[in-house]
Every structure is written in C-alpha cells, then in structure tokens.
Amino acid sequence: MSSASTAWRLGLLGAAVAAVLGGIDTLTRAGIQRNEQRVTLAPLVAVTGDGRLASLRGDTNPPLVICAASGAPLYHVFQRSVRGYAGPIQLLIGVDAKGALTGVRAISHRETAGIGDAIDVNKSPWIRSFDGRPLADIALVADGGSIDVITGASVTSRAVINGVHDALADAESVPSGICSNALDE
C-alpha cells in the first residue's frame, strides 16, 4: 500500500470519527447540561430543604441571597471553610429569612475514613441533626447543646459547630433587599 493511500485512509477515518462525535455531542448536550445544573443546585436544595431551588437560575456561588419571585428574601446560603482534624472542611450553611438555620452540608473534607467522615451526609445522618435547630441548641451535648458528638471525632464535630455559629452571626448582618437570584413563579 502506498503511503499516499495510507494518509488518505487515515484522513478519511479521522473525518468520519469527527462527524460521528459531533452527532453524539448534539444528541447528548441537553441531557448533560440538565445533569450539571441538578448537581450544582443539589447542595442548595439540601441546605434549605426547598425543592423549588432545583430550577434556580443564575449565580450559584455563596454567599447567596435567594429571593421569592416577589423579591422578598427567602434564604441566605453561606459557605464556610473550617479547620477539621485532617484539613479544611468546606461547609454550606442555609439560613431562612428569619435568621433560623435550615440545614448544613459538608461539601468537601479530608476527615478520616470510617471516623470523621461521618460529617458527610452520604456516610452518616449526623449533619442532618442541625436542620432547623435554634442557635442556642447548636453545641455538643457535653457543652450544653443538643448535638451528639461523632464518636472518636470531637475535633471534627466542634469544627462544624463553630462554622455554623460563624455563618449564623453573619446572617444577622446581611443587608436585606439585595437578591442574588430569585425563584421563577
């Protein structure tokens, strides 16, 4: 086989592959975008407990003030980085318009597998025990609050609690009337 023929065949093959890939890209693009949106918004839905946020448009980087279609603020969402046992823990914290905590999720961490990683909602329901709790209760039972310590991980447990307190303190000083994004009606 001549080298010219080899080049032609490879070229043809490349063009055919590109065409097929282009077709598959067109076919899958909408579905992929839908999934990406669902995944970026899932933590916001989780910390506010409000399923309507799944169709939120626009900015999704905390700090956020998410408003109703009318413009009235519904939730503040904060992100806090706290020092855990094995490195930084990124927390996402949701607060409603009255300043009450709606939920907390650890969105990234390096805590010990099988012990401190119980802050991950996929590993343990522990972090759900913050949902809807008044500020005064957010402390370990040993410190007079009502949050159970994660066995073997008191440093991790306290780090999360400190991050939540920090965010709630910020929530009081957020100026009202500035919406990051609003729900569709």
Partner: protein
C-alpha cells in the same frame, strides 16, 4: 473458538494473567457502584471498538494501524463518556479520570491488535464480550470483597488494600490451575 474464549476469560484474564489494568482496580473498586461503572465503560468500549475495528479491517492501513486504532477507540471512549454524563452523571464524576484513559488501556489495545484486526465481526464481537466479562468479573469480585470487609474495616477503604486482595485472588487462581 471455544478454546479462544476460554483463554480470554480465564487463562489470559486481563487482570489475573496479564496483570493489566491495575490502575482502575486500585482506585475505583472501593465501592461496588464505581466498580460497575468503570467495568461497564471498559466493557462497552472494548466490544464496540473491536466490532468497529473488525468491520473496518480491510480499510485500516497496515502501516498505520496504531493511529487508526487510537482514533476508533477514542471515538468509542468519548461517546461512552458523553452517554454516561447523561444517564449516570454522578458515577461519571467519580470515575471520569479513569474512563478518559480507557483509550490507551492495554486491555483494549491488546484486544484490538490480537483478535479484532484479523477476525470477522462475529468472532471479534464474541471474543471481546468474553474478555470484557472476564475483566468485569474480577473488578466486581475485588469491589465486593472490599465492600464486605468486616464492619467497614478502614484499611479496606484504602487503595493499597487492592494489592492484597488481587494477590490473594491471583494465588487462589494459580493454585486452582496447578491442581487441574
């Protein structure tokens, strides 16, 4: 054909015999869902690329067969990744790093070179299914063993653990082969 299939799935099992593809084995088998995701991705790439290569075997220039293989396997890999993002987005997020390099995965390339290049579409299809099932089975076995380790035993979660599990499986297989 039977002997060829037996060879691919058991005697020349990609992981057990050829000791190939230990990377995904090391990292993704710490949970069964990820093991299934990467296993199915490799399996699908293996089968589709082998069928395509076999179908085009008269067209692929002999002097440049490696770039042609790379193009076709790349086509299969990219397509599978796009479909995974539609139908299994979360799993894709966790195993994307490994599905991206399926292209230069020795199992897939070796299979293309060894059987698809010379065989009819039907034979290539059957051979690649058999080799793929062999790979998938070992991946699942390792994933299951790590998952069922007593009480979420922490070392079982660490990647190194796979060396031990894989070595034990290999030893067991060798012992079995020698006895027979």
């Amino acid at each position: 054909m039977l002997s060829m299939n037996e060879t691919l799935a058991w005697h020349d099992n990609a992981v057990w015999r050829q000791l190939l593809c230990l990377l995904p084995l090391l990292v993704v088998t710490n949970n069964v869902a990820d093991a299934v995701a990467i296993g199915v991705a490799v399996f699908t790439v293996l089968v589709t690329s082998n069928v395509i290569i076999s179908a085009l075997r008269g067209f692929i220039p002999a002097e440049a067969q490696l770039p042609a293989f790379a193009l076709l396997i790349g086509l299969c890999t990219s397509s599978i990744m796009m479909f995974m993002q539609v139908y299994a987005f979360e799993a894709h997020q966790r195993v994307a790093l490994f599905t991206q390099v399926v292209l230069c995965n020795c199992i897939v390339l070796a299979q293309a070179e060894r059987t698809a290049r010379q065989n009819t579409i039907r034979a290539a299809l059957i051979h690649s299914i058999v080799a793929g099932v062999g790979f998938l089975a070992v991946l699942l076995l390792v994933g299951l063993i790590r998952k069922t380790a007593p009480g979420d035993w922490p070392p079982a979660l660490l990647p190194v653990c796979v060396f031990f599990v894989a070595a034990l499986l290999l030893a067991a297989k060798n012992a079995l082969v020698q006895r027979v």
